[in-house]
Amino acid sequence: MPMSESRNRAKLLAHKIREMAAHIDQEINIMEVCGTHTVALRREGIHGILPPTINLVSGPGCPVCVTPANYIDNALELIKDGAVIATFGDMLKVPSSTGENLAAFMGQGKVRTVYSPFDIIRLRDEIQGPLVFLGIGFETTIPTIAATFKEVLARKLSQTYLYTAFKTVPNALRALLADKESRVNAFLLPGHVSVVIGERAYDFLKSYKVPSVISGFKGEEMLTAIAAILKQFNDKAPTVENRYHQVVSREGNPKALAVMDELLCPEDALWRGFGLIKESGLKLRKKWAAIDAARVFGLSPLKNSEPPGCCCAQVVQGKIKPNHCPLFGRGCTPEDPVGPCMVSSEGSCAAYFKYLGVEA
């Protein structure tokens, strides 16, 4: 088989990375903030290309993994009260605090999966009674969900609600940096999120002097970004760099930001693993209270609790690797997941299990 150009370029990059790493006399723990990176890095086998002094540490960027367990309790409650839940497939198998999940209700049509939030407009015609969309996600998914609900409002669709547990990236990074126990000393910044919020949203990182690079998701793009991080170490010039120019601008996507702003406003959000982080989430503005499932149905506030033995809380903070959780691959597998990190396709435990194996 002919060696592709991309394999050639990757080889050069790997060589460059090893060369630079040899000149840096410290361990580098790069946190990939975004779940798509968690998967892409392992899918491309990048862990095996890097020298041993450079570690990839998964971060809080899997939306399902940072959503408190009783969010699912509340969704199940809604079903029992007669609502139909519409959600992305990733939420189906997340265990509630009593170990139930939404998947069990799919057969009865009480839970419908969608590939795009806009599907709920089609679903609305089919379904009688209240229809609640589970609003989980980061700045990548939030604009589409906001745009969908703008449409719901414009069409005056009745009994169509949004249950928000949206998270935003910048203040989560602040929380990570404030944590004294954290080993993270560099960030691989999310690509898709940055398309929306723009390079500008990370300006505050400069004062922390932590090398940070916005990266795409192709193997070569991620290697390029890792090389850029090492160069910052090497030059002792930590900064925030955009290595995903093709799609990430300085200002972000004004349309997406505008539609988010129209419907949503910042809130202090509860993250699984981290606890409450100031202004790190988005909720519906008061004037849209009529479509806010949490208010309309008086849902209990979110609170954190972990299944016994599950270390997801440490995993999402990058404090341990999934294979250091005693349940990894033993009590906890993709067929029978214990925590959200094994459920979500973007979860760190699932990515490890799938691409590196139990022996990893």
Binding site: M1, S4, A10, K11, G48, K93, Y115, D336, K354
Partner: protein, 342 residues
Amino acid sequence: MKDKKTIRLEHGSGGVLTRQLIEEIIYPYLKNDSYSELDDASLFPSPAAPGEKLAFTTDSYVVDPPIFRGGNIGKLAVFGTANDLAVSGAEPLYMSLGVILEQGFSIDDFESIIKTLAQSAREANVKVITGDTKVVPAGKGGGVFLNTAGIGRQVFPHSLGGSRVQIGDKVILSNHIGAHGVAILSQREGLELGTTIQSDCAFLYPLCRELYSLGLDLRFLRDATRGGIAAVLNEVVEKRDFAIEIDEEAIPVLEDVKSTIELLGLNLYEIANEGAFIAIMAADKAEEAVVRLKKHPSGSGSMAAIIGKVTQNHCSRVVVNTAIGGQRLLDFPRGLLLPRIC
């Protein structure tokens, strides 16, 4: 509190749970000398012609939607069952047809399904010689379900189930993958993506016959249906003292299928196909096998390629060499795959 006690959709995905269901519930009760391997079809001695073997298989079809781009459930029911015989080394001859219809299903649609089924049977040179029809009340079935059982005559006299695979052999994929699953999904979910993609549903016996003529150098054949090539390759290495290494870049896939899969976050390796098989060949015959597949007038092997090899490292695992020179495991499909695509 795990939901272990009831059937889950994943039990039908062709992955780990499907295996468990067969191995733990079905197989222990039904094991006998003709049902001794988890193969797609069983070979048994012909009572009428001593020395000859017959092959027998059955498969049920529950695809949603039943009529899709590039075919319908009727075509699938004939080709799917015929292909199971073909990859077991048998020429498909006869079939049965069981139909379960749901009250309210369109008779016009049913007729067009049966028309296609008849046409596919002619194409495959298979005769449907018995059948049964049942109707269930509205809400108790998925429109139309079909079951076909097929009988064939063994024409390749060696096992194709993987027992002859050796270190050094090459792994061949007979055509591009992913199209069937993506076509069904995009149509079922009404997606705007992937609307130009057609199911790859095809009759594979003529291609398999090309490889039978390579004799013992043909070690293994299996169509990559439910669970995709991930399931097939993992079944080959399971409990064996070798591994399979495949080269990501060598996997044939159509451009529009690839981009749709990326956008939807699907796994190309786990998606069901209805027109592609994995063959494992002795290394020095692999090139010739690919040439034969590519040249075949049906066109069903036009993108055939050597995608990897059987190696000694990483025993019992399937390893992918990524385009940038990294490595990762290719696991048995585990999660919920797209339900009801075959």
